[in-house]
């Protein structure tokens, strides 16, 4: 009894250390930014406005990452349809704003959930390769956007009947509690708390863990793996839709490129946060830490004056390094099945 509880404690202890490690790295990046400011390489890193910039960027990446981490945890790597899911739901919302704020939001959510259902159904039921399938959905959706809106960006109608709705929509991104905390951040915190609970404490979370660790064993344990996979893709699409609405509110325009890059930013945040691409390992709290790191890093790179393309290169390199370290450390755990 005694030895058992000690072992349990030590394993949850190491989990906390791992999560803490992610936040430690985030802190190191903050210190790096501070040092760069002290040496005069960048100006006002530590200003309130810049910290708010970081937090806002973290909120958007984090919202996408929290949902997508369910897909990663289920052993299906990532949802690559996130960018156009974000873009598409933005168009839908702006189109529907003339009928009021709530119908617009609900309409966007319904469309987002449909994309998630489609992804989850096809990948769960027919065992489609998740990356290839969601990538295909991404491009099909992109095609639909360009076809329907004839390759145009659309703007909310400021003159017509939906003025009040437009004003409300506008405030999604701009609403600040106590002049500081933006609505996306509040949403992110709620999602992290709920997500962590779902992942660790609900029957769905436990089934997801078993499924992500060994799909066939899960099936042979009587777990409805198809449903578990379906739900995880629906969750990814749900948070992508929320992030899509926030971005659209920020830019005040429905554009196909609104979600560009969020797929990879989110995956990188997830992997940095300690969730392995093999599935069944990691936590939502870790993913939040990963999003923080990505947000701070982006901010520093922008302040230093590194161009967008070079930033992509840096993120890509970090992704490769983290996945590499992960793979090596998993391998060195060494399994002797003698």
């Amino acid at each position: 009894m005694n030895a058992d509880s000690r072992a349990v404690r030590s394993s949850s202890f190491s989990r906390i250390v791992n999560t803490a490690g992610v936040y430690g790295i985030a802190l190191l990046f903050l210190v790096l930014g501070l040092l760069l400011q002290l040496t005069g390489a960048i100006g006002n890193f530590l200003s309130v406005q810049n910290m708010l910039n970081i937090v806002d960027a973290v909120a958007l990446v984090g919202i996408v990452a929290v949902g997508m981490s369910f897909v990663t945890y289920s052993g299906h790597y990532a949802d690559m349809s996130v960018p156009t899911t974000m873009g598409f739901t933005g168009y839908i919302c702006i189109e529907l704003l003339r009928y009021g704020f709530l119908p617009a939001i609900l309409g966007a959510l319904v469309v987002g959930l449909l994309i998630g259902l489609l992804n989850g159904f096809v990948i769960g039921k027919f065992k489609a390769n998740p990356i290839i399938w969601t990538l295909a959905v991404n491009y099909v959706t992109l095609g639909i956007i360009r076809l329907v809106w004839v390759n145009k960006q659309i703007y909310p109608d400021l003159q017509g009947s939906g003025q009040a709705a437009v004003a409300l929509f506008d405030s999604i991104y701009r609403l600040r509690f106590f002049h500081l905390i933006g609505l996306p951040l509040v949403i992110l915190i709620i999602l992290v708390v709920v997500g962590q609970f779902v992942l660790t404490r609900t029957s769905f979370g436990v089934k997801l863990k078993v499924t992500g660790s060994a799909l066939r064993a899960a099936k042979f344990s009587g777990i409805d793996v198809e449903r578990v996979i379906l739900v995880s893709f629906v969750l990814a699409a749900f948070t992508a839709t929320i992030a899509g609405l926030a971005v659209t509110s920020l830019s005040r325009v429905g554009a196909w490129y609104n979600g560009a890059g969020y797929d990879f930013k989110a995956v990188t945040a997830i992997v940095i946060g300690g969730m392995t691409l093999a599935g069944g390992r990691g936590s939502i709290l870790g993913v939040l830490g990963g999003s923080l790191i990505i947000g701070i890093l982006n901010n520093i790179m922008t302040l230093v004056g590194i161009g967008t393309f070079s930033q992509d290169m840096v993120r890509g390199a970090i992704f490769i390094i983290v996945v590499g370290i992960n793979a090596v450390s998993l391998r060195s755990l060494g399994r002797d099945d003698a």
């Binding site: 029957s203 769905f204 099945d337």
Partner: protein, 501 residues
């Protein structure tokens, strides 16, 4: 083959291999002469597989010396081991399933003509290799289109193609039927004539007495003894393996049978089994005996809802079983312990408790909130009951020995409190200690009223545990034997279609 005919082909001296926290091979010396079959036995976790992995070049940090044909070699990589003429045949096949037999056999050394592959010559070479193992197959077939036991022989042919002077066989017969075992032993006889040194790892003692010249017993990472096969008895080997004497392996306890629980009528899955009917009572252990390919696993898959039967009915306690998924069948109390422990059975990356509770997640949840602590006493009880070692619920299952993994798999199904438990080869490749524990808990389960269907190729197991044994042959139930009629010999004869039918 070699210039040295007198010295040993392989000489391992004071070899040790440590893993973080444990020592897997402790100061072991071991030698094999050319043309000798040297059996290596021990319970799971005794260190024999690790010792052979050292030989295969899997580790670059072992200590001690290894001499091959009199020359000391540093076996720090698989390439090096291969170069020294060491061939390994594992239980798990190393064949690529989608590509052809030829390409598998000649991987890395396909004959060329200029820049192009010489397909004709490749086919001839492949055919020749297959002849060594007595197989006559179309070498263009992909591995996935041939049977498991044919694939096993292809694997052996592949390793022989590298012309090894030392050959290690790890449980080569575990997936083979009796005729195939005979064929394999004939092959081994040929290899002996070619003065190849063979290390033969097996749990199956009768086999060892048939083909081995010497036997080395390992226990707890150490070598216990090396004996000539003519100077030891089966009991002595078992005693050295377990460190205690297993006087009577099977002690039958009295069980009373209850009402009919499972009724199967005219069950047919075309091409696999036909018109299968039987009844099973509460508390009854029914064995299903047959050669590989007789349709036993296919029958099990239908009985647990994984596959659908074309005809026939399954009734549980007088009511037809509802639904068509494994989850639905499980909910009604039909559980299935698969023969494929590593892929279908366990989540190797998860902890012992996660695995044990994985089939009862919904039962431990209220309003979708899962309570692991509610399952903790159950996990603790099962770990104790099955003597799972180490007795630590948070230990990763992949790091346990094979026998303990199998116990965890059984614990998972015991936790689900099934009404009918179908066991498919529950003790294959498992050491004697674990086997004993598993048998005890199967008996206990039956005493508590569960109906057990035991599919097994282990004849003593069937004879020792079952109330009745049904013989399955080529997809049909051909015979049924009571406990009193059962013996290893009678079962074997019946499974082969001999004896009175």
């Amino acid at each position: 083959m070699t210039e040295r005919e007198t010295g040993p082909a392989l000489e391992m001296k004071n070899v040790s291999k440590r893993f973080p926290g444990t020592i897997a091979v402790d100061d072991v010396s071991f030698e094999v002469s050319p043309g000798e079959v040297h059996a290596l036995v021990g319970e799971n976790g005794a260190g024999k597989s690790t010792l052979m992995k050292v030989l295969a070049g899997s580790f670059d940090d072992y200590t001690g010396t290894i001499a091959v044909n009199g020359r000391v070699e540093t076996l720090h990589s698989p390439t090096m081991a291969k170069k020294c003429g060491i061939g390994m045949i594992y239980q798990e096949l190393s064949l690529a399933r989608p590509i052809s037999i030829t390409e598998n056999l000649l991987a890395g050394r396909l004959p060329r003509r200029g820049f192009l592959l010489d397909k004709k010559r490749a086919r001839e070479q492949a055919q020749e290799l297959l002849q060594h193992v007595g197989l006559d197959l179309n070498v263009d077939l992909p591995i996935e289109d041939i049977s498991q036991h044919e694939a096993q022989l292809v694997e052996i042919a592949k390793v022989l193609g590298n012309k090894p002077s030392i050959l290690v066989m790890d449980e080569p017969t575990s997936a083979l039927s009796r005729e195939e075992v005979d064929r394999l032993f004939a092959i081994i006889g040929n290899l002996k004539k070619q003065r190849i040194a063979i290390v033969y790892i097996s749990h199956h003692l009768p086999e060892i007495f048939r083909i081995a010249d010497r036997v080395t017993v390992m226990r707890d990472a150490k070598k216990i003894a090396t004996k000539s096969i003519t100077e030891v008895s089966r009991e002595e080997i078992v005693q050295m393996m377990v460190g205690r004497s297993v006087k009577e392996f099977y002690k039958r306890s009295e069980r009373s049978l209850g009402d009919v629980r499972l009724t199967v009528r005219g069950l047919t899955r075309l091409g696999f089994f036909h018109d299968v009917s039987f009844q099973a009572r509460r508390g009854e252990i029914i064995g299903i005996c047959g050669l590989s390919g007789a349709g036993r696993t296919e029958l099990a898959r239908v009985l647990v809802g994984l596959d659908k039967a074309e005809e026939g009915t399954i009734e549980l306690d007088g009511k037809p079983v509802k639904g068509s998924s494994m989850a639905a069948f499980l909910e009604q109390g039909i559980a299935y312990l698969t023969e494929d422990r590593k892929i279908e059975g366990l989540c190797l990356r998860l902890a012992v408790d996660d695995n044990i509770l994985s089939a009862i997640i919904d039962r431990l949840s209220s309003a979708s909130v899962f309570s692991k602590s509610r399952g903790a006493p159950l996990v603790e009880r099962l770990i104790g009951e099955l003597a799972i070692y180490p007795p630590d619920p948070s230990r990763t299952v992949g790091n346990l020995s094979g026998g303990n993994q199998q116990k965890v798999l059984l614990a998972k199904w015991l936790a689900s409190e099934p009404r009918v438990l179908i066991l498919d080869e529950p003790t294959r490749g498992v050491d004697i200690g674990a086997k004993l524990t598993i048998h005890t808990s199967i008996e206990k389960l039956a005493r508590e009223g569960c109906t057990v269907l035991l599919i097994s190729s282990d004849l003593p197991e069937l004879v020792g545990l079952c109330d009745r044994v049904i013989i399955m042959r080529k997809g049909h139930f051909t015979r049924e034997m009571n406990y009193s009629e059962c013996s290893e010999e009678s079962l074997l004869l019946a499974a082969n279609g001999e004896g009175s039918a």
